[in-house]
């Protein structure tokens, strides 16, 4: 009974608004743009967070990635003539990092060698990753077949290799690759497992693994391939000596990520003469996302605020005009026996219906904006239930707030004055 009455009241309100279609539509424009901005703001913010979360998931939220880089003066020197550049992370660095911080849970040293891999007649240029079993804890990828590296592989100096799905497909069909002999350079390795891989950049951080990886025990890598690599380019021989190309560190709690990264940075600074390493923190991507979100919140939030204010005032204005126009109607209703609060209800429902209609149009518009932002600016946007519901609540609120004063004015119309015929 009560619900039916509310529905009837709303229908009556809509009927009344339909008497002034154009006027009602124009009145809602402010709400339309305000709500549209809110939807856009929320979906851009949500998109930025989600993108960052996805990236962090690929990189590991509790990870710190320390990479060897060739410093700039080294780069210049190496081009002149045959020269040996020694840079990057050392085995001692790894031990020191692992032992100096009790916030660190585990570490994986990484030694990279580029070699051609051969499986029977097929060949693929591989990136050999000499590492420890921890790698597979820190760079979590699904294991598709066989197993990952074990402590015992290292202890027994076994020539075993874990391939990526991509590499396995290139070199031979998936499952049956397990147990095959893979030739790396001039040595044979037994393929013991296949894992999935990611590649490329996440934000501005290089993802640790690549499609063309082959994982082997680090001691084995060192024994078979040594620390010196030689690259021949147009007459010059370029020789490099690098112990470790990466150290991946995992801390126990997310709160330890940034302090520990700073500590590592500081410690490496004490032992390295040149800046030949880079400490990156995946968690920093979240900070970037938050910064993006903040910028958009400020811009779109201001637009939303101003539009909603203008829209609210517009609605209030139109409702005040409506109260004046309908003074006689209000007088009649009051004389017949309508209570003040029923008049308030009648006008509030009209304002709320008006602002909700504006809100719905605004949501329609606001859903398009993120699409355009994604299309033209390439930014991720995500529309959630929240980014639809909140604007609806806001437009409801605007209707109530800006409708209250006109409604109270209507309720205070004196029927005697309203019905006096001159």
């Amino acid at each position: 009974m009560h619900q039916i009455k509310i529905v009837r009241n709303i229908l009556l309100g809509i009927e009344n608004l339909l008497l002034h279609k154009l006027r009602s539509l124009l009145t809602t424009l402010g709400i339309v743009f305000g709500v549209g901005s809110v939807v856009a703001m929320l979906s851009v913010g949500e998109g930025a967070s989600k993108e960052a979360m996805d990236q962090i998931r690929k990189l590991g939220s509790n990870n710190i990635i320390v990479s060897a880089i060739k410093s700039i003066d080294d780069e210049a020197a190496s081009t002149t003539h045959s020269h040996m550049s020694i840079y990057g992370l050392t085995y001692e660095d790894h031990v020191r990092v692992a032992e100096s911080f009790d916030t660190i849970r585990q570490t994986a040293p990484v030694k990279l060698v580029r070699k051609e891999g051969r499986l029977r007649e097929r060949a693929l240029e591989l990136r050999i990753v000499g590492t420890t079993p921890e790698w597979f804890e820190l760079v979590r990828r699904p294991v598709l077949a066989g197993r990952v590296l074990l402590e015992s592989d290292e202890e027994d100096q076994l020539a075993v290799a874990v391939l990526t799905e991509f590499g396995a497909r290139r070199l031979l069909a998936a499952e049956s690759t397990i147990g095959q002999s893979l030739r790396l350079g001039s040595d044979y390795f037994e393929v013991v497992g296949i894992v999935k891989s990611e590649s490329g950049q996440a934000g501005n951080i290089q993802i640790p693994d690549e499609q063309i990886d082959a994982y082997i025990p680090i001691g084995v890598a060192r024994k078979y391939f040594g620390d010196i690599t030689t690259r021949r380019t147009a007459g010059t021989r370029e020789r490099e000596m690098v112990d470790l190309h990466q150290i991946i560190v995992q801390v126990g709690s997310i709160d330890d990520v940034e302090p520990t990264a700073a500590g590592i940075e500081n410690m490496l600074g004490n032992f390295h003469k040149k800046k030949d390493y880079l400490v990156s923190v995946p968690l920093a991507l979240l900070r970037q996302a938050e910064a993006t979100k903040r910028t958009f919140n400020i811009v779109l939030g201001s637009i939303a605020g101003i539009s909603l204010l203008v829209g609210g005032i517009g609605i209030m204005n139109i409702m005040l005009a409506s109260v004046t126009e309908r003074t006689q109607e209000i007088g009649i209703r009051r004389a017949i026996g309508a209570k003040r609060r029923q008049i308030i209800g009648q006008f509030l429902i009209e304002t709320v219906v008006l602002s909700i209609i504006g809100g719905l149009i605004g949501i329609g518009l606001g859903v398009l904006v993120p699409f355009m932002i994604t299309y033209f600016a390439g930014m991720a946007t995500v529309i959630t239930v929240g980014s639809i519901v909140l604007p609806l609540v806001i437009s409801f609120g605007v209707g109530i707030i800006f409708g209250l004063y006109p409604a109270v004015r209507a309720a205070n119309v004196d029927p005697i004055v309203a019905l006096r015929h001159e």
Partner: protein
């Protein structure tokens, strides 16, 4: 209380005791009602007459619970309503009164049916029953063909008949009619008046303001007002 209430309910539906309404205009006080003691019997038909400014409208507003007395008592069906708040007065109007105005006062945006249904809406009737009652009342005033028309499509006499149908929707005890024929030609006015007489014969109390003595002649009692006071009362209906 009970004896008084009973006597009020039996004979006198409305009683005024030294009713005064004073408007303060700057430093000048206007006695719109200057101390009236009067009672209206249930089922009576009153015509209130008098020159402009004599206090007729003020009297109607007070009796119709649209306005408060400055002093004195207004007893309606044995209950003193002088002290009631706005909500209670609205409730009284909704349950006990029907209003008919000189300028009809229909809501132009609403159809005839919706106009007639208006009191029922505030009484909380559902749409189905309201529609049935509106149809019944429209038949009573001879406008069943016009239920879906808007007031602007009707003649003055038809509009006043819609207003009467609306005034009857809540089965009122008292019908207040403020110059109900004032905007109508003589023949149409007569028709409207015949409707009111018929209602009175069915037992409704009717209090009507009019200028025309031939209209007032239909009323059982004629109250002549002057300067906010009762000048004389004619008739014994």
């Amino acid at each position: 209380m009970s004896a008084e209430a009973e006597s009020g309910c039996d004979g006198k539906i409305v009683q005024l005791e030294d009713a005064r309404k004073i408007y303060q205009m700057g430093n000048q006080a206007v006695n719109a009602l200057a101390g009236i003691t009067l009672s209206f019997a249930r089922g009576s038909f009153w015509a209130i007459m008098g020159p402009s400014g004599s206090g007729k409208s003020t009297m109607m507003n007070v009796l119709g619970c649209l306005d408060h007395l400055t002093s004195g008592r207004y007893v309606l069906e044995g209950q003193d309503v002088s002290t009631l708040d706005d909500d209670s007065l609205s409730e009284l109007r909704l349950r006990l009164f029907g209003f008919i105005f000189q300028s009809f006062n229909l809501i132009p945006q609403l159809t005839v049916q919706r106009n007639i249904e208006l009191p029922l809406y505030y009484l909380g009737w559902d749409a189905h029953h309201s529609a049935a009652r509106a149809k019944e009342l429209a038949e009573k005033v001879g406008l069943e063909e016009r239920l879906n028309h808007h007031p602007t499509e009707l003649s003055g006499g038809q509009m006043q008949r819609v207003a009467i149908a609306r005034a009857l929707a809540n089965e009122p005890e008292i019908i207040f009619a403020d110059e109900p024929t004032g905007n109508l030609d003589t023949a149409t006015g007569e028709q409207i008046l015949r409707l009111l007489v018929e209602l009175n014969e069915q037992g409704k109390t009717i209090i009507m303001v009019t200028h025309e003595s031939y209209i007032a002649a239909h009323a059982g009692r004629r109250l002549h007002m002057l300067d906010g006071l009762v000048e004389r009362i004619e008739g014994d209906g």
